[in-house]
């Protein structure tokens, strides 16, 4: 329902745009529809807590990691990207993972990978 309202709003904005903006909006709508297709309707039951101090909070069930991964795969499968972009994205992910594991100074990450850093002979540590 929320998603449908968002799309309607997007359509209204679309009418008042110039041709260049329409092109970019079309592109974004293409991605949006790809994402939309990949989503299966969720059977989310909105449970409000009993009347009291926390009555304004709405508890939503958190989808499992596997569900999220499946959605992620479905979204990406519907996207059309050139091989160069795919390679660039892939290299960025690898770079991000490597930097976080070996060069980040955040105590939690650093301490977890500390011994591995020292075990690889070329990773600078403190």
């Amino acid at each position: 329902m929320v998603r449908a309202l968002a799309l309607q709003a997007k359509g209204r904005e679309f009418e008042s745009l110039n041709p260049h903006q329409i092109f970019s909006q079309k592109k974004s709508l293409h991605y949006l529809s790809a994402i939309n297709k990949s989503f299966k309707p969720l059977n989310v039951e909105y449970q409000s807590s009993p009347i009291g101090a926390n009555s304004h909070k709405v508890e939503m069930p958190v989808p499992s990691v596997l569900t999220q991964a499946k959605r992620h795969v479905r979204i990406t499968r519907n996207l059309k990207l050139s091989a160069t972009r795919k390679l660039f994205i892939m290299l960025s992910i690898v770079g991000l993972v490597l930097y976080t594991m070996f060069f980040s100074t955040m105590p939690a990450v650093h301490d977890y990978f500390h011994e591995l850093r020292h075990g690889l002979m070329m990773i600078p540590c403190h």
């Binding site: 990406t76 795919k86 600078p124």
Partner: protein
């Protein structure tokens, strides 16, 4: 004729003296085969001795140990230590021997400089020794395996991207990233570094004979890459300095490893040691004093000190990160072209 002979004899003796002066006076000896020493694991024991035949009359030595300098392509795991002074102290050399043991923190060529100070005024020529410590073979193997995994992950992903267009390619590329993350996750963690300041409780010890051993460190929290001065005095019940031999031990508490030890002889009953703590983790400093007067019992004092870790310099991080990224990019490119070539052959 006679004056010429005297001149020649004088010249010869002067030349002889200058030759013996420039020849090395102190001999360097290591107990271990330095080619098998692993950094951060094995101890190196070095002794500097004055041959008995040599009567140079050396009172003290200024001993300086320098860590290997930085390398161009790869950083070591302690970049803050690279090229720094591990210790620089003046020690008594009245017995004609000085020994110390240390665990080399990094691979590379260490430099030991010694400046003898003779009994008579003046100074002798500086002597220098260089010794090389090789990298631990297990760590080289670890790096090899890691690069193999990284190369396979990157190469396979790029191969799949290059070989096929469409749904399957995306799926496999993501799957390979997932495999990489899963491989990285179950690695063993270690204890968190907590700020650990100097504990002043045991810096003074009192023996049963009324002896007092007092230790002082120049810094509350020494830093990696910089030296800190440790001073110690041994006093009797009348507050008089007692001649003694001091045995110094530095323990790295995280791995319970003795990283440095030496014996310092002092006829004045006090010592000063200017050395570096090379790991940014808590250390325990232990000093045991053995009075020259054997009737007096040895006395021991110790304290713990937290060493301030230094974040790796940007240059060291840049070197290693760019090397890894270059390797990943090369693996991806080769994988991609391999896949692309296979795809074009199938189409033909």
């Amino acid at each position: 004729m006679r004056s010429l002979a005297i001149f020649l004899i004088t010249l010869t003796s002067l030349l002889g003296a200058s030759i013996s002066f420039s020849a090395p006076i102190i001999s360097f000896h290591s107990e271990q085969d330095l080619t098998n020493v692993r950094p951060r694991h094995d101890k190196v024991s070095i002794s500097l001795d004055l041959p008995k035949s040599n009567k140079a009359g050396i009172k003290s030595l200024r001993v300086k140990l320098l860590a290997p300098p930085s390398q161009i392509f790869f950083s070591t795991d302690f970049p803050a230590v690279e090229g720094s002074t591990l210790f620089d102290s003046v020690i008594s050399f009245e017995e004609g021997s000085f020994k110390f043991s240390f665990v080399p923190p990094i691979r590379g060529e260490y430099r030991l400089e010694v400046i003898p100070v003779p009994v008579n005024q003046g100074s002798l020529q500086k002597e220098e020794w260089r010794f090389k410590i090789q990298e631990d073979p297990s760590r080289v193997t670890n790096l090899g395996f890691f690069l193999l995994i990284l190369g396979l992950v990157c190469g396979l992903s790029a191969y799949v991207i290059g070989a096929a267009e469409g749904k399957k390619a995306n799926l496999l590329a993501q799957a390979s990233v997932l495999v990489f993350l899963i491989l990285a996750s179950p690695l063993i963690a270690h204890e968190q570094h907590s700020p650990h300041k100097i504990s002043k409780e045991n810096m003074q010890a009192e023996g049963s004979d009324g002896l007092k051993l007092d230790l002082r460190l120049s810094s509350e929290q020494p830093r990696v890459g910089e030296t800190a001065e440790l001073r110690g005095t041994l006093l009797d019940a009348n507050n008089q300095l007692i001649p003694a031999r001091f045995h110094l031990t530095f323990m790295q508490m995280e791995h319970d490893l003795e990283v440095f030890s030496t014996d310092l002889l002092s006829s004045e009953g006090q010592f000063s040691w200017n050395g570096q703590f090379v790991d940014g983790s808590p250390h325990r400093v232990e000093v045991e004093a053995f009075p020259t007067n054997e009737k007096l019992k040895p006395i021991k004092a110790s304290f713990e000190v937290g060493v301030q870790a230094v974040p790796p310099p940007l240059a060291a991080t840049g070197k290693s990160f760019s090397s890894l990224m270059l390797f990943a990019a090369l693996a991806m490119l080769s994988g991609f072209f391999l896949g692309h070539y296979k795809q074009s052959r199938i189409k033909v």
